[in-house]
Amino acid sequence: MKTKVKKIIPQLLTLLVVVLIFGFFTYNAQINMDNRGIEFGFGFLSQESSFDVQFSLIEYDGSHSYARAYLVGLLNTLLVAFIGIIIATILGVIVGIARLSPNYLIERSAAFYVEFFRNIPLLLQIFFWYFAALRALPLPQDTEPMFGVFFLTIKGLFVPRFIWENLDILFYSILAAVISIAVIRNYARKLQENEGKQLPVFSISIGLFVILPIIAFLIGGVSLSFEVPVLKQIATTSFIYEGGLGLPPELIALTLALALYTATFIAECVRAGIQGISKGQKEAAASIGLTPNQVLKLVIMPQALRIIIPPTTNQYLNLTKNSSLAAAIAYPDLVLVFAGTALMQTGRAIEIVSITMLTYLSISLTISLFMNWYNKKIAIKEK
């Protein structure tokens, strides 16, 4: 009985303290809100927002609800995160592998990149790209096009818009390519198990992926035309490009800074993963006659990926959270649109900040859960 009491008392005490603290906060909040005449409730979400957003992936203007504004902000955040993650991964893997190169110059250059971009605050990097680097770009009317159709100006990057005819046929051809690749891979695997012969699956997959859509182009009536951005004058000294897709400089600066910064951490994860494989593994694999490519594919990468993927996923999460710095340069992400403008207009601090934090929490928890599942699934069995 005594031990049970000993176990229960500290827990009860802690619980009591926590409850008291929360109670204190809630009580004060009630009083403060009463005093200022603010109500608590989520009804405001369906009210008209009456503010515009500079950049949005979906239809939106001032007549839409706050809930829709939230969605716009969320989509913008996810857009930056998505593009940033892709660029950061590619860059990080390249730099990570370069860090292991026996070539002194390559290894030092990669090390320089990592040390340089890692030790400067992300906010400073974002400011630099936005206020200093991108400001140095020319005005629309003075821009020389890259490859004739890309215009990198101070007002953003304007690219041609794709206009598809019969897009669905192209879509089906890609779907067919994917399915046939899956079938071929299955067949090749069975063939190897039964007869030992190996098919060049990779080349065949690439071939299919390229040829089937081309066939769709030629005989399926799919056609692609470009709407090239065209310079248009909207005021006496102000020009803009119309007709193409415009990527605002805020988006470019944010994505660039995020990718360059996060890539340094990913590079270190990749390096640690590959270095973590003992030399003996490579030697043993070589000694049974595997080619260097086979050694990499069958022995090194499976083990290295187990070490690389968990911290890299953590970096993806960090990138997504860091995208909230968009507020500093007025890119309309979730924080700026919802916890910034909407909050200022409605004054519903508690509700809005809670929703924002909950959104990020959900993203984090989803990725954590996925990480745990993945780790359990591929864990190397031990005694």
């Binding site: 500290p10 906010l123 400001r135 900040v353």
Partner: protein, 423 residues
């Protein structure tokens, strides 16, 4: 006369290959060098595109020729194995060398040659390079923020005292050594707090009061970093212990706390501190902006420190716990004397990383209106008398942060090495 098969250099005609190859390589480098530094184009007689590509081709050919296996000259073999193992490697090496050569003149000219530092107004910046005059004039603001000029000696004294007191550890005699931990964890922070409260903030003993809103610049960066470091470390330690506790309630509360703060961006936390905190506190309880920010950042970083320390606690072999228990040590004794000292040594790099991240996160406090150095930069660049010098400001701040962060990571690396040999 042997037929020289140029495609396959071999040992017999070593000197020929070596000299030809080196000659070609040198020509390539000189071409790029002259072009970058002196704007002299020695291949002006060739059409533009070929002249551009020529150094690359010459360089590749040169490196190909000196790629002799087992030449017997140790330095050449080393060079070949390192940067010249195959054509791809050779191309990359050349490109890196060329890029370095091509980028030195513009950097040198912007930083030094065409830059200005004399004078005290915008007109003094006549060159096309950096305007360091801008930095020179604004330096006081960048370091002290809006703190009144005549009172800045107070900040200087506080920092000098703090730094001096930090080195007390070196001079402790044997008798006093056991009080060191107590000193660093309790006494030092208390002294720091008193200095900040009375000397920098003032309002008593005849010193004029300076509100925290006027504090800024690099001094604010240090103050925020310092206090957040002091608070988040013990809090993180308790959270880490709580997460591994045998009591379910404590465990769940710790986990919830940690996962919450790790799941949200710092900027929302700061928003919360400026917008929501006032709501949660009694009407007339005013908490200074700076205090709120320090509390918010400390709670935030404590969650990350907790995870790092937890890693160390887990990595410790179970035998340590068993041995301590079998000697009759209770939970707290075991952790204070056996577990934590070892676990903390294990995770020095992780903690250093978190501290570094903390320092790099301080610029975010601009969202609550506090202007540390990056905030001051943004303020300065909108001043009508000094428009257009954003680049200089950011480069200046980047250099300062880079030095601080690099120094910290080097120090932690050395600490790690020192403790590794101890084991």
């Amino acid at each position: 006369m042997n037929k020289l098969n140029f495609l396959k250099p071999n040992k017999e005609n070593l000197s020929t290959y070596l000299y030809t190859g080196s000659f070609l390589f040198l020509i390539a480098v000189i071409d790029v060098f002259l072009g970058a530094f002196f704007e002299v184009n020695i291949t002006f007689f060739l059409p533009g595109f070929i002249g551009f590509i020529l150094p690359l081709i010459l360089g590749i050919a040169g490196l190909r020729l000196i790629r002799i296996e087992y030449s017997g000259i140790p330095k050449l073999d080393l060079l070949n194995k390192n940067i010249n193992t195959n054509n791809f490697n050779a191309i990359l090496t050349l490109l890196i060398i060329f890029i370095i050569i091509k980028s030195i003149p513009p950097i040198l000219s912007w930083f030094f040659i065409d830059a200005n530092i004399a004078g005290d107004s915008k007109e003094a910046c006549t060159g096309s390079g950096a305007c360091w005059t801008y930095i020179k004039i604004w330096l006081r603001r960048f370091i002290y923020g809006m703190y009144p000029n005549e009172l800045q000696w107070r900040i200087n004294i506080s920092f000098v005292l703090l730094i001096a007191l930090a080195f007390v550890g070196y001079f402790a005699t044997e008798k006093l050594k056991k009080f060191l931990t107590l000193y660093y964890v309790v006494i030092y922070p208390v002294i720091a707090f008193i200095l900040i409260y009375y000397l920098i903030s003032g309002g008593a003993f005849g010193l004029e009061w300076v509100e925290t809103g006027a504090w800024g610049g690099l001094s604010l960066t240090f103050i925020v970093s310092f206090f957040c470091l002091i608070f988040c470390f013990p809090l993180g330690m308790f959270l880490a212990l709580g997460r591994r506790s045998g009591f379910p309630t404590i465990r769940y509360i710790s986990v919830g706390f940690i996962e919450f703060w790790r799941g949200v961006p710092l900027i929302t936390v700061l928003f919360m501190s400026s917008v929501m905190f006032p709501m949660f506190l009694p009407e007339d309880f005013f908490m200074d902006k700076l205090v709120r920010v320090i509390i918010a950042i400390s709670l935030f970083e404590a969650a990350y420190v907790a995870e790092v320390i937890r890693g160390g606690l887990q990595a410790l072999p179970r035998g340590q716990y068993d041995a301590a228990k079998s000697l009759g040590m209770g939970y707290w004794k075991m952790h204070i004397f056996v577990i934590l000292p070892q676990a903390l040594k294990l995770v020095i790099p992780g903690i250093a990383n978190t501290f570094l991240a903390l320092v790099k996160d301080t610029p975010l406090i601009f969202v609550v209106g506090l202007l540390e150095i990056v905030g001051m930069l943004n303020l300065a660049k909108t001043n009508p008398k000094w428009l257009g010098f954003a680049m200089e400001g950011y480069v200046f701040a980047a250099i300062i942060f880079w030095i601080i962060c690099y120094a910290m990571s080097r120090y932690s690396y050395n600490l790690e090495l020192k403790y590794k040999t101890d084991r």
